[in-house]
Symmetry: C2
């Protein structure tokens, strides 16, 4: 089992632990290593989830597999990343999506009971696990916030106000190209140009090569709230 210790040093779960610590921890946690051939299914949507999975080697994809066989890939996981951590302890302990090996892979499985044991006996592990969940939560929170904005005007206002917060000035330096800026807000470049011009005409902002000046913070907030 010690063979995996090295590759797990960059896994969030084992942060602040050295190779020796990880090795002994892996023994205590009764880790089971399972190998998968390319294209084989690791977990199927609906399966009961009783263990945490950590990618030790290979590349796996999380995907939605529809009854007809259609597949929609959501994310790709690389060594060090893990899956099942959210389902494991929730009331709905069934995988909401499927996991498929895209290359020959090795997954380390840790049973829920072992995890519980590890969390109660190793404060660092507990801390890491909580950080893992918490970070995911804050990430998703941000994502929901952005997804809830439905007009281009709102997205632009949101972007500008966020930049104002970090740059602490109404003269906002746009370090990106217009193209990158549009992609960042997941809108079309011409749509962004059009909206910026409209906002300039309406006296909300002014802009020049490389900078956008907020003329009225309050007005931007009004647009954002509706």
């Amino acid at each position: 089992m010690n063979t995996y210790a090295k590759s797990l040093e960059n896994c969030i779960l084992f942060k602040h632990l050295n190779e020796a610590n990880i090795s002994s921890l892996l023994k205590v946690l009764q880790v089971k290593a399972v190998s998968y051939e390319k294209e084989s299914i690791i977990a199927l949507e609906g399966d009961r989830c009783t263990s945490l999975g950590i990618i030790a080697a290979g590349k796996i994809e999380l995907q939605n597999i529809y009854p007809s066989g259609k597949v929609a890939t959501l994310t790709t996981l690389m060594p060090g990343q893990c899956f099942g951590e959210a389902v494991l302890f929730s009331d709905q302990d069934h995988y909401p999506i499927s996991a498929v090996a895209k290359t020959k892979s090795t997954i380390l499985f840790i049973e829920k009971e072992s995890i519980m044991h590890g969390l109660t006996h190793h404060p660092i592990l507990l801390n890491n696990f909580l950080r893992l969940l918490s970070n995911k939560l804050t990430m998703m929170n941000r994502k929901i916030k952005v997804l809830s904005l439905d007009t281009i005007r709102q997205k632009v206002c949101n972007y500008l106000l966020k930049e104002y917060q970090t740059q602490k000035s109404v003269m906002i330096q746009t370090h990106m190209s217009r193209k990158a800026m549009a992609e960042h807000m997941s809108i079309q470049r011409p749509s962004l140009s059009r909206e910026l011009i409209k906002m300039k005409e309406e006296g909300l902002i002014d802009f020049d090569k490389g900078t956008i000046k907020i003329l009225s913070l309050e007005a931007l907030e009004d647009e954002l709230i509706g």
Copy 2:
């Protein structure tokens, strides 16, 4: 402190624990009770978050307060619910939003260190805390999934396929009125009618008073994936 034990029995964190257990736990956790007058601020966006908050009495609102003073309320928390649980252990340990008392309220605060201590010494508490975080994650996952659908066609397909899963039949009983159905998908009623008729014309579905029949599961999935 025992005064609060009773009111915390329906808090997820203290599930499976009786009043006596909760009382002793509250002592161990060094809970600090703080009272707030109506409209007073409990936590301000940007403040460092070092403790978990549990509503013991009153009603508090989580809101975005903009520099100009504009306020957008996100949710209302009632006794038994808690806040800060996601921020507490994340890398970004600052409140992303503000908490305001809407009535005279009492909040129980538990310091991060005490929580850590409690989690390592009380398996039930650990289990409950993990379930709290996990449930929130799965909830947000679902929300993101729905928010990512951007055409009405996709929303309708998503709704029908989900109903198919629960009703296990292509003859779907619509227990709601069209109006309620439209609200449920957060679209406009005429838009829903229009789309349903289009889908009928295209041979994807058929519908009658009270039922919608899926003619091709595969076709609906295609529409959903794009």
